[in-house]
C-alpha cells in the first residue's frame, strides 16, 4: 500500500516509523517546515519530503494519485481537513484519515466525508469512561461514515427503562437495541417484547447525537416531569 502521512510532528513521525517497519508499505512523510523535514531526512532518508500536504501541485510530485491512504496528523485542523479533502476529491484517494485537535471539529469532519477521525481527547475519554460514573455510555465503535456508532451501557436501577419492554420506550431516531446481556451473563437478541432490567448490559446502534437521550433513558435515574 502507498501511504502518505501529512505532518511530521511527534504523531506523524511515530506513525511513519511504525508503518515503515511493516512490510509491503511504501510511506512518504511530508512536512511544511523545511528544517524539520531536513532533520528527519537525516534519520529516515528519502521517505521524508519537504512540502505543503494541502497543495495540489506539490502532492502531484509525491505521486498522490496512486496513494491508497492519506493520513493528516498536523497540529492544525484546517490543514488536516483540507489535506484529506484534496486527497479525496482531487486525487481520488480511497481512504483519508484525519487527526482532530479540537474535538468540536469532529462532527464537521465526519459530515464532510473524512473516513476516520482520531482525537486525543476522544481516545483518552474512551479509555477512562468506564471509570467515570457520569459517563455511563461507552462508545465502542464508529460505523463507517454514517454518523452511527455502537455503544455499550448498563440499565440503571430506577431508570425509565428498568422493568419496561423495549417497545414501550421512546427511543431516539435510528436507534437499534442490538444485544442484551442479562445480569446472569446470558446474551439475548432482543425484540419489542424484551423487558429490560437493572444490571442488564445493552449494546445499541445509535446516532452520535442521540447519546444524551439514550443515556437518560437507560442509564440515568428517572426524573419525574
Amino acid at each position: 500500500m502507498y501511504i502518505i502521512v501529512v505532518g511530521a510532528g511527534t504523531v506523524g513521525y511515530g506513525l511513519a516509523l511504525e508503518l515503515q517497519s511493516m512490510s509491503d508499505h511504501e510511506v512518504v512523510l511530508i512536512d511544511r517546515d523545511r528544517a524539520r523535514a531536513a532533520e528527519l531526512r537525516e534519520e529516515l532518508g528519502e521517505m521524508v519530503v519537504h512540502g505543503d500536504g494541502t497543495e495540489v501541485v506539490f502532492l502531484e510530485t509525491v505521486g498522490a494519485r496512486r496513494a491508497d491512504l492519506v493520513i493528516a496528523v498536523t497540529g492544525d485542523d484546517g490543514a488536516n481537513l483540507v489535506a484529506c479533502q484534496v486527497a479525496k476529491h482531487w486525487f481520488k484517494v480511497a481512504r483519508a484519515v484525519a487527526r482532530v485537535n479540537n474535538p468540536r471539529n469532529e462532527r464537521l469532519f465526519r459530515l464532510l466525508g473524512i473516513d476516520s477521525t482520531v482525537s486525543a481527547t476522544g481516545a483518552i475519554m474512551a479509555q477512562i469512561e468506564v471509570d467515570l460514573p457520569e459517563h455511563t455510555l461507552i462508545p465502542l465503535m464508529r460505523l463507517h461514515g454514517s454518523g452511527l456508532q455502537l455503544v455499550d451501557l448498563h440499565v440503571l436501577e430506577g431508570s425509565q427503562a428498568d422493568g419496561r419492554t423495549i417497545r414501550s420506550l421512546t427511543l431516539p431516531p435510528s436507534t437499534i437495541i442490538s444485544l442484551v446481556v442479562r445480569i446472569t451473563g446470558e446474551p439475548e437478541v432482543p425484540n419489542g417484547d424484551t423487558v429490560l432490567r437493572a444490571g442488564d448490559e445493552v449494546i445499541a446502534v445509535i446516532l452520535q447525537e442521540s447519546e444524551p437521550a439514550l443515556r437518560s433513558l437507560i442509564a440515568a435515574p428517572h426524573q419525574a416531569e
Binding site: 492544525d76 471539529n105 464537521l108 459530515l111
Partner: protein, 133 residues
C-alpha cells in the same frame, strides 16, 4: 442583511466598510485587535476579537442569523475550515472564501463554496496591464 467577515486585513476591512455603507449589519472577526485600525472611524458594524474557526466565536458573531459569511484571512486552510463550519454546521447560505492556491479553490468551488483566487486575479490583471496598448 447580517454578514460575518473573518479577517480584517486590507480586503476584509475595505469590504466591511463598503457593506456597512450599503446598510448591512456587519460583524468583523480578527484574532488581532490591532487589525481593526484599518476600519474607518464611521464604521457602525461590530468588531470581534477571536478566531473564526471557533464555533463559539462564530456564534457570538451571530452566525446563526447570518445570510453570508466571508473568510478573508491569509491562510487558505484556515479560511476553508471556517467556511465549512459556517456552511455545514450553521447552514449559512452564501459562503465566500479567499483561496490563494487556484487548484484548491477549484476543488472547494465544486464542493459548494464560493471561492476566488487572488493568484489568478492578480496574474490576469498583470497580464492585461502588460499587454495594454
Amino acid at each position: 442583511m447580517h454578514i460575518v467577515i473573518m479577517g480584517c486585513g486590507r480586503v476584509g476591512s475595505t469590504l466591511a466598510s463598503r457593506l456597512d455603507h450599503e446598510g448591512h449589519e456587519v460583524v468583523v472577526i480578527d484574532t488581532d485587535p490591532y487589525a481593526f485600525r484599518r476600519l474607518p472611524s464611521d464604521f457602525r458594524g461590530e468588531k470581534l476579537v477571536g478566531s473564526g474557526v471557533d464555533e463559539h466565536v462564530l456564534e457570538s458573531a451571530g452566525i446563526r442569523r447570518a445570510e453570508a459569511f466571508l473568510s478573508l484571512t491569509q491562510g487558505d486552510n484556515r479560511n476553508l475550515l471556517a467556511a465549512q463550519i459556517a456552511k455545514h454546521i450553521f447552514n449559512v447560505r452564501a459562503v465566500v472564501v479567499r483561496v490563494y492556491d487556484p487548484f484548491r479553490g477549484e476543488i472547494f468551488a465544486n464542493l459548494g463554496l464560493r471561492t476566488f483566487s487572488p493568484t489568478n486575479i492578480g496574474a490576469d490583471m498583470a497580464y492585461d496591464a502588460l499587454t495594454r496598448e
